[in-house]
Assembly symmetry: D3
Homo-oligomer: 249 residues x 6
Amino acid sequence: MLLHLQTWQEVEAYLAKSTAIIIPIGSTEQHGPNGLIGTDAICGEAVGRKLGETTGTLVAPTIAVGMAQHHLAFPGSMTLRPSTLIAVVKDNVESLARHGFTHFYFVNGHGGNVAPFSSAFSELYAESSLSRPGNRPPIRCVLRNWYETPKVKAISRELYADQEGSHATPSEVSLTWAVYPQTVKHMKMEPKVAPRGTFTDAADYRRNFPDGRIGSNPDLASIEAGQRLWDAAVADLADDLASFVKLKA
Amino acid sequence: MLLHLQTWQEVEAYLAKSTAIIIPIGSTEQHGPNGLIGTDAICGEAVGRKLGETTGTLVAPTIAVGMAQHHLAFPGSMTLRPSTLIAVVKDNVESLARHGFTHFYFVNGHGGNVAPFSSAFSELYAESSLSRPGNRPPIRCVLRNWYETPKVKAISRELYADQEGSHATPSEVSLTWAVYPQTVKHMKMEPKVAPRGTFTDAADYRRNFPDGRIGSNPDLASIEAGQRLWDAAVADLADDLASFVKLKA
Amino acid sequence: MLLHLQTWQEVEAYLAKSTAIIIPIGSTEQHGPNGLIGTDAICGEAVGRKLGETTGTLVAPTIAVGMAQHHLAFPGSMTLRPSTLIAVVKDNVESLARHGFTHFYFVNGHGGNVAPFSSAFSELYAESSLSRPGNRPPIRCVLRNWYETPKVKAISRELYADQEGSHATPSEVSLTWAVYPQTVKHMKMEPKVAPRGTFTDAADYRRNFPDGRIGSNPDLASIEAGQRLWDAAVADLADDLASFVKLKA
Amino acid sequence: MLLHLQTWQEVEAYLAKSTAIIIPIGSTEQHGPNGLIGTDAICGEAVGRKLGETTGTLVAPTIAVGMAQHHLAFPGSMTLRPSTLIAVVKDNVESLARHGFTHFYFVNGHGGNVAPFSSAFSELYAESSLSRPGNRPPIRCVLRNWYETPKVKAISRELYADQEGSHATPSEVSLTWAVYPQTVKHMKMEPKVAPRGTFTDAADYRRNFPDGRIGSNPDLASIEAGQRLWDAAVADLADDLASFVKLKA
Amino acid sequence: MLLHLQTWQEVEAYLAKSTAIIIPIGSTEQHGPNGLIGTDAICGEAVGRKLGETTGTLVAPTIAVGMAQHHLAFPGSMTLRPSTLIAVVKDNVESLARHGFTHFYFVNGHGGNVAPFSSAFSELYAESSLSRPGNRPPIRCVLRNWYETPKVKAISRELYADQEGSHATPSEVSLTWAVYPQTVKHMKMEPKVAPRGTFTDAADYRRNFPDGRIGSNPDLASIEAGQRLWDAAVADLADDLASFVKLKA
Amino acid sequence: MLLHLQTWQEVEAYLAKSTAIIIPIGSTEQHGPNGLIGTDAICGEAVGRKLGETTGTLVAPTIAVGMAQHHLAFPGSMTLRPSTLIAVVKDNVESLARHGFTHFYFVNGHGGNVAPFSSAFSELYAESSLSRPGNRPPIRCVLRNWYETPKVKAISRELYADQEGSHATPSEVSLTWAVYPQTVKHMKMEPKVAPRGTFTDAADYRRNFPDGRIGSNPDLASIEAGQRLWDAAVADLADDLASFVKLKA
């Protein structure tokens, strides 16, 4: 169930049965020579929406621009500042909590989002923790990275071993190709496997990782792998979501 | 050209030819008994993307949650506060300006966005106006409502006359049906044409407009009308965009 | 009744009869070769105060510095950022709402204020819309441009036709002269009627409109016209205010 | 010279001779049984403007709503939060510094403004202190309380001794009567001299000072005293301003 | 009683007897040729903690970085912007008020903190003053400068007369030496007594006060004087604190 | 070398040799029945300062109040909101970067700080990434948890195995006892090992973990263990810091 394709009466009916909602989150940033700028948002949305379908859970609009300041030396990359993201998450969650939603399940496609979203959840909880008991509706938020579920990690290891890397990985490129087969692009990477390392700001990142990849060889990607990874992520998250909604808000 | 389906090298190549970008904006809010919660984002995105296709202009990710505080008494509606929207627009534009984009063309599907986005543009310009000349890259932003272009207004008048109204209109419902034919929903409206009037906050809105519509009869919507309106909006905006990109940033 | 000339006991007595208040708003910015920098604040205040007198409504202090970033390339122009204006309006309205004021009628003299003040009203309403019903006192805000009331527009058309323009207009200059007759300044404009067009930031504005005027010939201004326009604005707004205070907050 | 009564060319000419500007600041808050709600703004403005006249210094629009949270339990009182005031002062000063103004002389009528304005100056300076040298134009801000100049204090002591108090004082009431003779209001105060003490928020203030006065007997006020105090303040501040403008910005 | 050395059950027991807490505040900034960068935080903490010991009052962690933008041209100096300090004080006080603390006694070692902390208290009170009565717990905040108590000023005058000055004073240097005897550093000052004057930002400060001192000769400092001043400050503040806790929150 | 015990000339001399600085960070929050409220700040500071001593690195003042909203249902716990922490870290780092510091090494004692500090680093980097190259000095920030270094984890496993837990652990209690031997407190825990689980806000946390511990038995703590852990953390971090300072800023 996609929130944007419901009427308000249908949402009202849904709330009588469930107060959980999935929010896909991603990023809009370079993903190396053959990866799409939308990779993280595409993956978060694809997994989040199929998860919603599988489990009968409502899915909110994707937050497609995340925290990606370190990619800004590559054309097309976009970022929200962490402080902006905190405000965005606060408004999203408060809007939905107003209607009675209590369980917020963020399906994430981008490592750079983890800290700012976790901070945003704390900012929301802090409003409740600092106020008089009962003044604010109880909520529970969680963020899950689709690329770190057990089944997904097993497949990545099996298929890509030490060519998986950590940015512009063959796994995420595969998943985007499963969603958009018309975007398949094979090319020789130079070097075959990108360097590894740390980074600070955009200038530092580009200096260390000249074509944008970190530790990966995304030329190994394939539509078939993408389909397997997609299904695996949804299967794992469906179990996790089932446990999550049982927790008290 | 959709930004999220490009690689960074393709964006680099695009920037050598053009520094304009389209950003679709919408809202996620109730649209009456048979309108979708995503109506405004669907329309903004559908028009914005087809405009990009027609004109060869790059299209950024849609900002799907806008300023819709007045709809929050209807389940599923979401809002960003105006102050949050200002921060979001600032970060979106500054990210892209960093790469050399200069002309930002926002295709809008929601009246409630007009003032906050206009304020956000002024906030961006103010940083430049208050600083020493040359400290910030020149930019130019504009917002266009797809539903107010000449051809669109002519069709709305022809088809719906005084049953068009101003919220949950048959025109916008038609356009969403052209995009998502599976969501067509016909039902008798009660009253046939909704009341008109003003509103302040969410409680006031719901008191005045109990089923969410303002002045409209969206049961008149049709896929065919939606297709006509879509094409009309794109045709009008293509002309306007061509003039816009000629203005100095 | 001017708020600043009352005692608190007189305000307490006023509140027993009426919970409406007029807030004049303007701007402090260049107004061409013979227009005053305070033109918009002078006009907003003059109309707002006479409206208060005519209708027996309390008038708050004028907000004299508005959103005028685009005028900053002309000496003496001042601006508040839109985000600052949102905070200012919020504090003004919350202060007065604390005492029981419910109807806030902003009499505006400056086009650049429309979007930021509208955003500020939405920010205020959003606090109510996002919170539990009843947590905040109900309020209703509206902004009216004195220069767009029917009678005023008729006079402008009659007197100035296509030399009225949209900035540093003979109408607004006339009104300031009616208020401050000692400031009358006649001079030949070069060109007689200023160019029209769009603008972004301060540098762009000055490039396009070298002496500050847009589309106008303010040498046509006169004290007599100013007096007529002043009376016309007050007459129109008095009717409008009478309707406004009848709306539920 | 009042900024709002100049044209931009006249300001340009002024800047060729002087880069100093006076900004009157006040407050809009209860002033006891016979004091006006605008007392502090009226005094700040009256002194600031006459000072401008006497010394040939430009005078910006008055900031009429200051920091007066502690008065909010009395109808008609208004406040800006300190954080809002910081933003307002920042935008006012940055606007004028953009044109080349370097010396900002705030003439203050309200004790509650001292800390927030001082904080705002530090916020402005901090932007310069934290940035690379030369990135921001040099500025110098100072705030002077008209009621604490030597001559003014001597007159207050002479006329009112221990009935002067610290809020709703006969001195400030006298000055407002000199400006607005039509507002003279004599009445028996009960008790004759108000209690003294400390306060925190609005509820605490009203509990301690039931009619709004602190330590004063404003029934002693007179137009004549107001005129003397006005002249005395201007004389003292004119000397001080002459020294101030000689300091390096 | 130091908060950081208690268990939560011990704090719970304390709250049953007293709802007052001491918060030492200081600054981290240059203090001339022989003064420590931590002088103000060391003094605030030393006096605040001994005051807690003497009076049996709980002492919260020291806020060691204050508002010191004007010292930033000297290596090692640190500042919080006033707007940051307002947020910090708000969170500190709201955290403790949540547990039932009502009386917040800030022992201060730095003049530059006075305005920002006073502003922060007003920001806290304003939340209460602007909201409906009873929505927020009552609190009372006060700031005391250890170096301005009567006994301390008498000793400073006796020992240092016109070589005390106002920054990097022999009194404060003495107190830090009493706390950290290993930091005693004697050296000839050049000139013996530093110049006096005003300052704006960091560049202006360093221009006027090349070695960081203002009006002082800190070579006069001694451990013995530090011990006397320390005891004197605690004795004075103990009396003041006893009065403070009797005031209604 | 402790920053607060240096003169500014000594810092100037230090900067000629090294531009690295250690900043200890902790939290002020309940730590179960026998743990101190300051546990995390004490540990962060003890490890950070000994690390500074061992490696000759300057150590800035400890940030003693961190992000601990989830502990606020236990008396004495304090928190900064994530958005406040972002501002604090920004001002701390910008102050020191102004003097030429480039490498910021945060030694952390509290898990709840990880996300907000990481977000704060991104906020700082984003300012650089979004601006024109060269406009801001290059910096590099890193956060290390003392309790997660290899040697520390080995000792914890050896001594406490599955009674270590994740909050109010015997390891951190041991370290505080090594620092403050007078605070040793043995008592029977009930249950011996605390429950494990997740939490959201303060109410949820206290419901799940009634005495504040998570998964731990801090009665196993000892001064001897604390001394071993302290040395181990410093040894591990000294190696890590040596690598860190070699990275380009």
